[in-house]
Symmetry: C2
Subunit: 376 residues, 2 copies
């Protein structure tokens, strides 16, 4: 099988590294607390280059017309742009946003502020990079291809679980591949963690995105790439997920703790790797456009062979919250289509090696993957 115009690469695949251990960039400034969104005005004020240099707010369009928009501290030339998160972010979407900002303003912006979920986080990081780097965003998909520092950029998550608020990548669908812009300039300069912003999330989306964190932790903690740094963050995120989805927390506590789970889960990426669920989920995503959170759930429920205890936990969580995953997703696929998914999934070599060691091909065969996909 030939991959036509897209080859999918894991969002957090480790790059070839010159050094033995990655020198990991952390978000240099973070504020946490219910209602801390209202501190955004004073946070941005000191970063305004001048009154002509605007802040550009990229905001998930679910908030259009809602009270949150009134609270955005947009002054002077600032611009609010609403973004649909119906589809995963694309390089040409980034290019169009950069073009629009350069056309609308003579001055370079003071900064980019993303308010939304993983899609808006990733778009904001990419736009901030591309304001200062030439050409299309597609040119920078890969590792450490960005030459010039990005403009100041702020991440404000409104759903918890992706870890995009703290990671050094922004995963984009390009003309040739789905791959992150992995660079030291990708990481946000400031993150605002206000658990109250996640109040309006639908139950299904809350669950799928939370499970993104849970599954990520299961895969990294059971992987062979782990060290004590990532283990400590991963264990904390895993434990917080269990509290949120299994214990009887108040809604307030659950929001607080899931936001911290996402944060620690994102940090655990520093020296870890995902595994079986992500590899197979990329196949689903490639062929059927299934989104990241739900795709991971669709696969993970059938992975008792690899993660026996955690799949049981997952099913208990699912039942507790009355989440019904779609069925028969792969029911009517042709053999060619199965082959496509299997080829994409098996191409994720670092993920398989992390999950099962160097001899992973002894366990993972096309027939084995097909038998799992058929259950979905």
């Amino acid at each position: 099988m030939e991959l036509k115009n897209n080859s999918v690469v894991a969002d957090d695949t480790l790059p070839m590294q010159k050094e033995r251990y990655r020198n990991f960039p952390m978000v240099p400034r973070v504020v946490f607390g219910k209602g801390c969104f209202d501190q955004l005005g004073s946070i941005l004020m000191v970063k305004r280059i001048n009154s002509e240099a605007p802040f550009i707010f990229l905001v998930d369009d679910v908030f259009e017309g809602q009270a949150l928009v009134e609270r955005i501290p947009a002054i002077c030339n600032d611009q609010i742009i609403f973004i649909s998160a119906d589809e995963e972010p694309k390089t040409n979407q980034v290019d169009a946003l950069v073009e629009k900002i350069k056309t609308d303003f003579q001055e370079a912006p003071s900064g980019i502020v993303g308010i939304g979920g993983g899609t808006v986080m990733d778009l904001s990081k990419a736009v901030a990079i591309m304001m200062n780097n030439e050409g299309s965003a597609a040119k920078y998909q890969g590792w450490d291809l960005v030459n010039k520092p990005s403009v100041y950029h702020v991440g404000i998550p409104t759903i918890s679980g992706t870890g995009a608020e703290v990671s050094r990548t922004t995963v984009l669908l390009g003309p040739e591949k789905k791959l992150g812009i992995n660079s030291d300039f990708t990481t946000f300069d400031q993150v605002v963690l206000d658990p109250d912003l996640t109040k309006g999330v639908s139950k299904d989306q809350w669950f799928y995105t939370g499970m993104d964190c849970f599954i990520h932790c299961v895969e990294s903690l059971n992987g062979t790439y782990l060290n004590a740094f990532s283990q400590s963050y991963g264990e904390k995120a895993f434990q917080l997920c269990k509290e949120v989805f299994l214990d009887g927390l108040s809604e307030d506590d659950a929001r607080d703790k899931l936001m911290m789970a996402s944060w620690h889960g994102g940090m655990s990426i520093a020296y870890s790797q995902v595994g079986v669920a992500h590899a197979m989920s990329y196949g689903l995503s490639y062929l059927l456009g299934v989104k990241h959170g739900i795709g991971n759930c669709l696969v993970f429920q059938h992975l008792e062979e690899f993660y026996p205890e955690d799949v049981i936990l997952f099913r208990i969580m699912q039942e507790k919250h009355g989440i019904h995953l779609p069925k028969g997703v792969c029911a009517n696929l042709s053999d060619d289509e199965f082959d496509t998914m299997i080829t994409v999934a098996m191409g994720m070599e670092p993920l398989w090696e992390n999950a099962l060691g160097k001899e992973w091909r002894k366990t993972i065969t096309p027939a084995k993957l097909k038998s799992i996909y058929e259950k979905i």
Copy 2:
């Protein structure tokens, strides 16, 4: 009682804040791994301003003549200065180091690199600040008094537990007070976490410094100031301490995990506060010059009234590792001396309020504190 030339203030007392939640500076870059000290050369290379602008390495003098010094990537004009950690760091020591560097070099340094324990971490942060700020370091003891960014500075801990590698303060003994330079410019620009560097630490020092982290976590987790951000870091640090000091870990694993405990414990400071042990330990430190780590242990062992389960845990750890704390430390003190310690301790109002709530004076009386000090 009048405090003559020193008034002691807790190292992590929360300042008066304009905003409701502190916008916390994190270390923007960190590398973790056994042997990652050897990546220091390439980390510093890209930060060298020019060949005349040296890196200044402040190194704990226990390493003088040891193999570690040979591995320091000092080239060109770089200078290695050995620092005694026998006494806690002082403002006039900072001033003298800054003066020496300014005298020895025409060019401003490319950066300051601290290699050692809490004392060297704190000195390095203070020297980095004072290279770019006028006057004596004493002038900046307090909160957010630093005007100009510090020079680039790197923290490389060689003992685990203080959290100084990640905090936004540097605690200094000045002519008027023992108080931190708390500022956004204090935090290191880079931290190198190499657990192998802690191999040569003596058992007593390992225990006392590890307990600095443990006691810090007990106090913050049982305090009234906590939020979910600091709780998640504090819980992880607490759990790692228990693994290190109670479980039968390999020496390798224990070094890895204690280094991460210190890191997370330091992060938990963001939105938390210490409590009874620290308040009373400051009294000991003020009167008798008892160092921070052992001082906390001396007090904590007698705090079963406030932290019943954790004092039992502490004693089990102490016994398991055969640590014998000094006895009779306060045996021959005069009433005036007791009064001094009690006044210093009771002056730590935010610590008491964190530990016991706004009505803390109903529980904490001079007689109560004297009865505890008498046991030490």
